[in-house]
Amino acid sequence: MSSSAHGTTPYYFVPGPSRHPAMAALGLFFVILGAGQWVNGAEWGKYSLLFGMAWWLFVLYQWFGDAISESVSGQYSRRIDISFRWSMSWFIFSEVMFFGAFFTALWWARAHSVPALGSLDNAILWPGFKAVWPSLAAGVTASPAGTVEAFTTMGPWPLPTINTALLLTSGVTLTIAHHALLVNNRSRTIGFMWATVLLGIVFLFVQGYEYHHAYSELNLKLTSGVYGSTFFMLTGFHGFHVLVGMLMLLFITLRLQKGHFSADNHFGFEGAAWYWHFVDVVWLGLYILVYWL
C-alpha cells in the first residue's frame, strides 16, 4: 500500500486498509442498542452498553496505537500536521456549538419561558404562580404546577470557586509544561503534566462532592424543574468534557514518559492542550452564567 514508503516520509501519508473503523462502529452499535433499552428499564441493556463501550475503547486503543507508531516511524509529514491542527480546531468548534445548545436552553428558560409562565396572560393557567428565577425563598420554585420540591440553588461559593481556581491553575501548569517541552526539558514537562492531570482529577472530585451536596443538602436534583435541568445538564456535560480532557492529558503524559514527542513535533500534545483550554473557557462561562447570575 501507499504506506510502504521506503524509509522516507511520504508527501501525504494515506493509511492502508484498516479494520478499526468498522470494529469501532460495531462497538457503538452495542452502545446505542444497550443505551436505548436500558433507559427503558431493560437490564440487559446495561450489559450491552458496557460491552460496547469496552469494545469501542479497546478498538480505539489499537487504532491510536497504529497512529502513534506511524507518527513515531516518521510517516507524518508537515502537511499532515497541518491537517491535525485544522481538524482539532473544527472539532472544538463543533463542541462550542454543542454547549451553545445548552447555554441557549438556560438563557431561554430564564429570559423567556419562566417569565412568560408567570405573566398576566398565563395567569388563567397558573393562577398562583409568580415568575421568580429560580426560587424566591424556601418553598417557592420556578414550577408553575408546584410539582417541584423546594430546593436551594447552588451558589458560587465555595466549591465552584475552588474549581475555578483548580482549572485556571491547571491551565498555567499545562502552559509551563508546554514551554518546557519546547526547550526539550522533558522531566519538567512530565512533572507539570502530572500536576495538570492531578488538578483535573481533583476538579472532578470536587464536582462529585458538589453534586452530592446538592442532592443531599440542597435538595437540588435533576428533577428540580428547569433550574435543576439546566444546572446539571451544563455542569454535567462540562464535567464529562473535563474527564475526557483529563484522560487525553494523561495519555499524553504517559507517551511523554515513553519518549514520544519532541520540541518541534508534538501536535498530539498541543491538541490535548487546546482541548483543555477550551474546557477551561467553557467553565468560565458556566461559572458566570450558572453560578453567579
Binding site: L117, D121, N122, I124, L125, W126
Partner: protein
C-alpha cells in the same frame, strides 16, 4: 436484459392503467362544503374576515409576481436552449464575467423581495393585534378534542367539549365512505360546535392539556398553535353568518386527523338566544357533587362517559392496545383503594399518554370509574361517589 426490460415495462403500463381507471371510477359525487373545503379547490378558501381577504390578496399578488419573474427568467433560458445549441451550429462565446450585470441582478431581486415584504407588513401587524375583543374564548386542545370556555363577553361561563362525530370516526376505520356514499362533512362534523356572534371581534386564547395542537379555521384566516402550559392568542371578526370548518393542524398523536373544528357564526339575536339556552342547560346539568348514587344509576351514567371519552383508546373491550394499557383486569382498577384510580384520572399518567381528565365533572369521573370497576371481567362491586373524587381534587 432486454426481455426483462420489456416485461417490466408492460407490467408498469398495466399498473398505470389500472390505477388510472381507479381514479375515475372513484370520483365521488361530493360537493363543496360551505365554509369548509371545496371540491378540487385550487386557491385559498374565500374567507369571511378582513384578514383572510388580505391573505387571499397577498397570495394573488405573490402568485402573479412570481409567475411573471418565472416566465421572464425561463423565457431567457429556453430561448437560449433553443438557439444556442450545438446542433444548431452555435459556437460558444467566451464571456464569463460582468460586474455590472452581477450587480444589476443582485439588486433587482433585492428590491422585489423588499417590496413583497412591505406589502405584507400591514397584515402582519393587523393579525397580531388581539386587543379590544368583544368576546374572549379559550380553546384547549386535548388528545383528541377541543374544549371551549367562554371567558369574557356575552356567554361568559359557558364551557363544553367538542369532538368528532363518532359515526364518522367509525366510518374512517371501516375504509371511509363507501362507493357512492356521499358525506359532505366527512371528518368535519362535531357534536358541539363553537358558537360566536357575527361582526364581533372574537379573541381565541389557545392552550393545550397534553401536546401541541393547532387551532385552524381557513375561512377566518387563522391558525394558532395550542401549546401546553402556555397561552397564545389570535382573533377574527366573521362578517357573515354560517358554518365554518377547520381541523387540528399540528401533529398531536394518532388521532391527529380526527379533531375538527366547527365554528357556527350566528346573528346577534340568535347568539343571545343560544347563550340563554346554553346557560339553562348548564344549570340543569350541574350535578350535585354531594349526591349519593345507587350502583345501577351510576353504571348507566358511566357507560356513557366511557363511550364519549375513553373508548377511543382503551377500546370497547377494555383491552387497550399497543402503548395503551388495558382496563380489563388492570391492577389499578381492581385495587380496593379507590383513590388510586381516581388520581390517575385526575392527573394523568405516563407523560400524559393517559391524559388528565380533571375537566370532567366529579360525577362523570365517579361514574366512569364505577363503570370500569364493574364491567368486563372486573366485578369488584365497588362504587365511587362524586364526593370521593371531590375529596382528591387539588
Amino acid at each position: 436484459m432486454k426481455s426483462v426490460f420489456n416485461g417490466l415495462a408492460s407490467w408498469m403500463w398495466a399498473a398505470a392503467l389500472w390505477f388510472g381507471t381507479g381514479v375515475f371510477s372513484l370520483a365521488h359525487a361530493v360537493s363543496d362544503l360551505p365554509g369548509g373545503p371545496g371540491v378540487n379547490q385550487l386557491n385559498l378558501t374565500q374567507g369571511v374576515t378582513k384578514i383572510s381577504a388580505d391573505q387571499a390578496w397577498l397570495h394573488w399578488f405573490m402568485l402573479i409576481v412570481c409567475t411573471v419573474v418565472f416566465l421572464a427568467v425561463f423565457a431567457v433560458m429556453f430561448y437560449s436552449i433553443w438557439k444556442h445549441r450545438k446542433s444548431q451550429g452555435h459556437k460558444a462565446a467566451n464571456f464569463h464575467e460582468s460586474v455590472a450585470v452581477e450587480i444589476a441582478w443582485t439588486l433587482a431581486p433585492f428590491i422585489i423581495v423588499v417590496a413583497m415584504g412591505l406589502m405584507a407588513t400591514k397584515t402582519v401587524v393587523a393579525m397580531k393585534d388581539t386587543t379590544n375583543a368583544d368576546l374572549t374564548i379559550k380553546a384547549t386542545g386535548m388528545q383528541w378534542k377541543w374544549g371551549y370556555d367562554y371567558l369574557k363577553g356575552e356567554g361568559e361561563g359557558i364551557g363544553f367539549v367538542s369532538t368528532l362525530d363518532t359515526a364518522q370516526r367509525e366510518m374512517s376505520n371501516n375504509g371511509g365512505p363507501k362507493k357512492g356514499e356521499v358525506v359532505e362533512d366527512y371528518l368535519l362534523k362535531v357534536d358541539n360546535p363553537l358558537v360566536v356572534p357575527v361582526d364581533k371581534k372574537i379573541r381565541i386564547i389557545t392552550t393545550a392539556n397534553d401536546v401541541i395542537h393547532a387551532f385552524m379555521v381557513p375561512a377566518f384566516g387563522i391558525k394558532q398553535d395550542a401549546i401546553p402550559g402556555f397561552v397564545r392568542d389570535t382573533w377574527f371578526r366573521a362578517e357573515k353568518v354560517g358554518d365554518y370548518h377547520g381541523q387540528c393542524a399540528e401533529l398531536c398523536g394518532k388521532e391527529h386527523a380526527y379533531m375538527p373544528i366547527h365554528v357556527k357564526v350566528l346573528s346577534a339575536a340568535d347568539y343571545s338566544a343560544w347563550v340563554a339556552a346554553e346557560q339553562k342547560k348548564m344549570a340543569a346539568k350541574m350535578d350535585d357533587p354531594a349526591k349519593v348514587w345507587a350502583l345501577d344509576d351510576i353504571l348507566a351514567r358511566g357507560e356513557k362517559v366511557y363511550a364519549a371519552n375513553c373508548v377511543a383508546c382503551h377500546q370497547a373491550n377494555g383491552k387497550g392496545g399497543g402503548p395503551i394499557k388495558p382496563l380489563d383486569g388492570a391492577a389499578v382498577v381492581l385495587d380496593a383503594d379507590k383513590s388510586k384510580q381516581i388520581l390517575v384520572l385526575l392527573n394523568g399518567q405516563n407523560n400524559a399518554a393517559m391524559p388528565s381528565w380533571k375537566a370532567l365533572s366529579d360525577t362523570d369521573i365517579a361514574a366512569v370509574i364505577s363503570y370500569t370497576k364493574n364491567h368486563w371481567s372486573n366485578k369488584t362491586g365497588q362504587l365511587v361517589q362524586p364526593a370521593d373524587v371531590l375529596a382528591l381534587r387539588k
